[in-house]
């Protein structure tokens, strides 16, 4: 069971959240010029590291806001929590 530190509500149980998958994906553009490969990549190809992963979570049963999480996919340790639109803080440092 994870304890996820919602930036708006504080630490809450995993069951209150949902994972929205890989963070920082940009939709390719301009629309008319996107190749099939780029579009396929955007729709179906995701990072799947056996290591740290940047992903989006939403506090569904709480404030319902989205935020980013850096999490290790082997230990499930949460390395950092940071706001949507932000890049990963450089010195994520200590686990939260």
């Amino acid at each position: 069971m994870f304890l996820i530190d919602c930036p708006y509500c504080g630490p809450r149980a995993e069951t209150e959240f949902r994972c929205g998958g890989e963070a920082h994906i940009e939709r390719p553009s301009p629309h008319g010029e996107v190749t099939d490969e780029a579009w396929s990549n955007y729709l179906f190809y995701r990072q799947n590291p056996k290591a740290e992963h940047r992903e989006r979570w939403v506090h569904t049963a709480g404030c319902r806001r989205w935020f980013n999480v850096a999490r290790d996919t082997v230990t499930h340790r949460i390395i950092a929590v940071y706001a949507m639109g932000e890049t990963m803080p450089a010195a994520a440092g200590e686990p939260r």
Binding site: M1, E14, T15, R18, C19, G21, D36, E37, S40, L43, F44, Y45, R46, N48, P49, K50, H53, E55, R71, T73, V74, T75, H76
Partner: protein, 415 residues
């Protein structure tokens, strides 16, 4: 030494103090070169090695497994075999697998304990019943056996169902040819069959990297040294993306943990397979007497072979809702496997941009039932260089062309 299993050899070895049995397969050390290498000693890799030898006469083959054979998802799954798919491609493929399962104990001379005890997919509301009748029609059109039952009929067939449920059972789809098999026996039977045809089964041999020269596969670097071959097939389930990346290949696959658990063993009380996705669970009883209970995916990437507690609780609650009599049974073991999920829940059996390198992946939460056909088709592809007709739709290009075989939504079950 006795190698063939029969009533006669059992009696003979019984009189002989069981001293003459040959080991089921040779525990081999790697040679420097093979005609073909199969990476991954799960059901798919083992079946591939077996059919390379049996169907195509390629017997100088190494099967490389990082741990012990069957130690991945093949030895962790809930062993349900069924072919209730929606689209013609998947229905034909999974029903071919089921047919191979029907003859597999004979073919391998190894009892895989395939028990066609039926597979009941419960409908708990009107919409589910509409989906189930649509499924039954699709299955029948695809030549697959299926029956639609109303609530009374379900109760007649499945004793012990809750008579005052919170989520009433309005009916069910039954596939009478569905059932369960012994998972370890499938791995061991294929290993034994392959080994007898000349395949080297090499355990504790992890593939770290590939040797690729000018776009051609030349071999693998392993924890037991370099092993050369121009023909390499890979079936490593949850590790597909990690290993394919070593060959410079990206795959549209995400790895998630799927969990299951078993109860303490009890006398026979459930003689079929029950799926109830609406209550979050499915269950059957093993020949040992344990209730084998499966849960859903933890919906975040994971390479930890353990499932989350919330899902365990949800699946257990589903069981108690369906069968109140099971509420006091104790859990014995809980575990998880790393499953390889594609966007459309349909597998990938295809060549890659590296010539001589083939993959079988995306078996996700439902690839045990596919093992005989998956091995058959990957072996065909490796031996002939062309897709088996049953697997042409399972190509990587569908993620570019858009020709997805979207069972994720079509047959209404997680696979």
């Amino acid at each position: 030494m006795t190698r063939h299993y029969s009533a006669l050899s059992l009696i003979r070895e019984g009189l002989n103090g069981q001293r003459g049995w040959e080991p089921a397969w040779r525990d081999a050390r790697p040679q420097a070169h093979y005609d073909a290498i199969v990476v991954g000693g799960g059901g798919h890799g083992l079946a591939t090695a077996y059919y390379l030898a049996k169907n195509h006469g390629i017997t100088n083959v190494a099967l490389l497994e990082r741990g012990w054979i069957g130690g991945g998802n093949t030895g962790r799954n809930t062993t349900v075999i069924r072919s209730n798919y929606f689209f013609p491609e998947t229905a034909a493929f999974f029903d071919f697998a089921l047919k191979l399962y029907e003859g597999l104990s004979q073919d391998l001379n190894y009892n895989i304990m395939f028990s066609q005890r039926g597979m009941w997919f419960l409908g708990h509301d009107r919409h589910a019943m509409e989906m189930l009748s649509r499924s039954v029609n699709a299955m029948l059109l695809n030549g697959v056996d299926a029956e639609l039952h109303d609530s009374d009929s379900v109760r007649r067939h499945i004793p012990g169902l809750n008579d005052r449920p919170r989520f009433p059972v309005l009916g069910a789809l039954n596939q009478p040819r569905g059932g369960t098999a012994r998972h370890d026996a499938v791995a061991w039977g294929y290993a034994r069959g392959a080994s007898r045809l000349g395949v080297d089964i090499i355990q504790n041999c992890e593939v770290h990297d590939f040797i690729i020269e000018a776009g051609q596969m030349r071999g693998v670097e392993t924890s037991l040294g370099t092993i050369r071959s121009d023909l390499v097939g890979m079936a490593v389930a949850g590790h597909s993306t990690v290993l394919a990346a070593k060959a410079g290949i990206r795959l549209p696959i995400s790895s998630y943990a799927l969990q299951a658990f078993v109860s303490e063993p009890v006398k026979p009380c459930l003689d079929t397979v029950i799926l109830s996705p609406a209550t979050g669970t499915y269950l059957s009883q093993s020949d040992k007497g344990e209730l084998v209970i499966g849960a859903g995916l933890d919906m975040f990437l994971s390479y930890a072979q353990r499932g989350s507690l919330p899902w365990m609780e949800r699946a257990a609650a589903g069981v108690v809702e369906l069968f109140p009599a099971f509420s006091r049974m104790r859990f014995l073991r809980q575990w998880a496997g790393l499953v390889d999920i594609t966007h459309d829940s349909t597998p990938i059996i295809d060549k890659t941009k590296v010539s001589g390198f083939y993959i079988s992946a995306g078996w996700g939460t439902g690839g045990f039932k596919a093992i005989p056909a998956g091995g058959w088709c990957l072996a065909h592809l490796m031996a002939t260089g062309t897709s088996h007709p049953l697997a042409t739709g399972f190509c990587l290009d569908r993620f570019r062309s858009g020709a997805l075989i979207d069972e994720a939504s079509a047959s209404g079950i997680s696979h």
